[in-house]
């Protein structure tokens, strides 16, 4: 089994504008999806990310507030998944409910040093 990270690109403004009902539906859709993945063994974990952060760059360790707030899209969270191949995990990720609401996701295989 290979490990993959599924990054969720959130549109902050759009998501914050959802109605209570839409928020609940979105959560429930995700919960249903996670439950399904847990049952078939592809789900390893996941977390949401807080939008405010810091950028640290170079030798001088220059610290800047992330440009997050200004940018339209940020990485809002990730799921850690496992599957046999990139193709298989792509099929799994297609069902991530955020796509139904127009969201964008990105799959990155986690480097496997043993193979």
């Amino acid at each position: 089994m290979k490990k993959f990270i599924l990054l969720l690109h959130d549109e902050l403004e759009k998501e914050k504008g959802y109605s209570p009902e839409e928020m609940q539906q979105l959560i429930q859709a995700h919960m249903g999806w996670v439950e399904k993945l847990s049952k078939n063994g592809s789900f390893l974990g996941g977390d949401g990310l807080v939008p405010d952060g810091k950028f640290i760059s170079g030798k001088e360790t220059l610290v800047k507030d992330g440009p997050y707030i200004e940018s339209k899209e940020i990485i809002g969270g990730y799921y850690l998944l496992q599957a046999n191949s990139l193709e298989e995990v792509t099929e799994i990720a297609k069902e991530c409910p955020c796509h139904l609401w127009g969201g964008v996701t990105e799959i990155r295989p986690i480097m496997d040093y043993e193979s």
Binding site: E21, E22, S38, G46
Partner: protein, 408 residues
């Protein structure tokens, strides 16, 4: 699918978020006053967003409602601290737990009453009510009322400013007991207006769910009002709503097309709703519109087929309804009775008279009318199809109407 208010539980119920909004928003406004309405609204929105950001990654709390409450409380306390210099409250006022002493049902009625007192147009009151008392979102309201989101925002902004100007006394807990008969009639009116917006402005099955929700919300508020004041007219309003809702499942077919009363599959009518409706139907001490309209609906519900409908009786009821309340929609419905009774000339004359007074928003209505008139008056039928064409913004439906028109 139960429009009655739910009991307190920690279950992740079907509409937990919206119900939470309804209870907590109005209670907090009663607690802190309407000048903090923006802060309260933001706190709730931030809470739901935080839930979205954490629960969806498998971090679902054991007691969702308790979680929502704690987070809302923290947002409010933080926001109040941040704006402390212009806050007239001292920190001992900030015990948000205190809202558990506020009867959440009363708080909603009280806020609803405040909405009726804002001196804004009926439709603006409705928009505001849907937002702050029912917890619908701007997009949901825009889609169901066929108004642009910008327009909704502007409406809400104006209403909010007006609400903030209402004296603090309006939001005292004991105020609810002082409602006059006139106040209650006014609340009934806005509830019925809301119900009709949900019921008549159906414009697609994709939005059908939300239209139903608006109807259920109206009924929920009617139940709150009835339980508090047990007024005869509120009971009749409930009867009427349940009788209308009994026909929900037969009004749209599997191809997303409207089904007029004549062609509805009457076996799909919901007998449970009919029964609930009858429970609230009692003989009135004085006539009111809801009672007469409920009687008209009951005649339809009691007819096995369209052709068995007792139109004579319905016409009599419409005649007495018009004595109480004279609107184009009621006249239009009466015209249908006249057609059914063979009084075509009178009916057509009536339709001509009211044509200029009808707005372009009732697609269900204009479609039914057009279909109804096909074999009676082709020109008038064309008029209603054209009216429908102006009303809809869905391409497939436009095509459907154009096909119809070319066949006529």
């Amino acid at each position: 699918m139960n429009p009655k208010p739910s009991d307190d539980t920690n279950q992740f119920t079907e509409h937990l978020f919206r119900e939470f909004y309804q209870e907590v928003f109005s209670s907090l406004v009663i607690k802190f006053g309407s000048k903090h309405i923006d802060l309260i609204e933001d706190a709730l929105q931030e809470t739901f967003y935080k839930a979205l950001k954490s629960w969806k990654y498998d971090a679902y709390p054991e007691k969702p409602k308790g979680w929502l409450f704690t987070v809302t409380k923290n947002f409010i306390l933080n926001d109040l601290k941040k704006s402390q210099k212009n806050v007239s409250l001292n920190t001992s006022d900030l015990v948000v737990e205190d809202i558990s002493n506020i009867k959440k049902e009363d708080a909603q009625l009280q806020l609803l009453l405040a909405c009726t007192k804002l001196g804004i147009k009926e439709r603006s009151k409705l928009i505001f009510t849907l937002k702050i008392i029912c917890g619908f979102g701007v997009t949901e309201i825009a889609n169901s009322l066929l108004i642009s989101e910008d327009n909704i925002y502007k409406n809400l902004q104006r209403a909010k400013q007006k609400l903030q100007l209402l004296p603090r006394a309006y939001f005292e807990e004991q105020e609810i007991l002082k409602l006059s008969d006139e106040d209650i009639s006014y609340i009934e009116m806005i509830i019925y207006f809301m119900f009709n917006e949900g019921y008549d402005s159906v414009n697609s099955t994709s939005n059908y769910a939300i239209h139903k929700e608006i109807c259920f919300e109206a009924v929920r508020l009617a139940h709150l009002l009835e339980r508090k004041f047990s007024r005869e007219s509120t009971k009749h309003l409930l009867t009427l709503c349940y009788f209308h809702m009994a026909r929900f499942n037969s009004r749209i077919n599997e191809n997303d097309e409207f089904v007029s009363l004549r062609n509805q599959d009457r076996s799909k009518w919901d007998q449970e709703f009919v029964q609930i409706g009858f429970q609230y139907l009692q003989k009135p001490t004085s006539l009111n519109r809801y009672y007469i309209e409920a009687l008209i609906a009951s005649i339809h519900l009691g007819s096995q087929t369209f052709s068995e409908t007792n139109w004579g009786e319905i016409l009599t009821l419409y005649n007495s309804l018009i004595q109480l309340l004279d609107t184009p929609i009621i006249r239009l419905n009466r015209a249908i009775c006249m057609f059914e009774l063979g009084m075509n000339i009178k009916a057509l004359k009536e339709l001509e008279n009211i044509k200029p007074f009808l707005e372009n928003k009732y697609l269900y209505f204009s479609m039914s009318m057009a279909e109804y008139l096909e074999d009676k008056d082709i020109e008038l039928s064309k008029f209603w199809y054209l009216k429908s064409l102006e009303t809809t913004n869905q391409d497939f439906r436009k095509k459907l109407i154009q096909d119809k028109l070319s066949q006529l």
